[in-house]
């Protein structure tokens, strides 16, 4: 299990390849990568992510451990950046390895649902007019309910 919180970009290709190479006994590997969308029609020039040093690492580690035991994973990787990112840059990734595909997919979705609403990150969109905190979405909160109990 590896949990990384960093300002620097990460290398999806290198991370995915290294993660897969370490789990030859697992039949299924899923990765999710989140990207600052680069949309021609929006005036957003950057995304800035604030976080809670100390709590962030602890929360991500707890989520990764929870996912590992719930879904019988062989391994979990979570990388999440903070600071300023340009459109098109990668924000975060998760990777899961499981014997079979359903658990690998479920675990990756579980991690994403928790990350979205329970990890102490706050996004702000920067444009020429100033900056706006991204509002949390009811649908993200609702997505958590399927993992309860």
């Amino acid at each position: 299990m590896r949990v990384v919180v960093q300002q620097e970009p990460f290398d999806l290709g290198a991370e995915a390849a290294a993660f897969a190479a370490g789990h030859r006994d697992m039949g299924a590997i899923v990765t999710f990568t989140g990207v600052v969308r680069d949309l021609p029609e929006t005036p957003i020039t950057a995304m800035e992510i604030e976080h809670y040093p100390g709590m962030t690492e602890a929360a991500l580690t707890a989520m990764a451990q929870d996912a590992g035991s719930r879904f019988g994973l062989g391994d979990v990787l979570v990388i999440h950046r903070f600071g300023r990112m340009a459109p098109g840059e990668m924000i975060m990734m998760v990777a899961t390895a499981a014997p079979h595909r359903k658990d690998a997919f479920d675990a990756a979705q579980f991690l994403m649902d928790y990350l979205k609403s329970r990890a102490p990150f706050w996004k702000r969109e920067i444009s020429a007019d100033g900056s706006v905190w991204v509002a949390s979405k009811d649908e993200d909160e609702a997505a958590l309910s399927r993992w309860k109990g």
Binding site: E50, Y52, A59, M92, M112, S117, P120, F121, W122
Partner: protein, 81 residues
């Protein structure tokens, strides 16, 4: 105890953290104390449903006890991922 503020809570209050000596027994009592301090605190804590709290770096709620606690953090709902 250290009290931390993040995102727009930090912006409204105007600082990221401060040392507060308080006899508040719960997070809710601490919030009531802070609200009385100045308008900027009252503004930040106007709507508790828009706020989340962590006690010693664990997500918690407003009736959590503060005895023995070293760090309380207030912030809006998280938007990670």
């Amino acid at each position: 105890m250290d009290v931390l503020y993040f995102a727009w809570v930090r912006e409204r209050i105007g600082l990221p953290r401060e040392r507060i000596d308080s006899d508040a027994a719960t997070v809710g009592e601490l919030v009531a104390e802070l609200r009385k301090r100045e308008a900027r605190y009252a503004a930040a804590f106007a709507d508790l449903s828009a706020l989340r709290v962590a006690v010693d770096q664990e997500l918690s709620d407003f009736d959590a006890p503060l005895q023995g606690v070293r760090e309380v953090a207030f912030f809006p709902p998280m938007t990670g991922g």
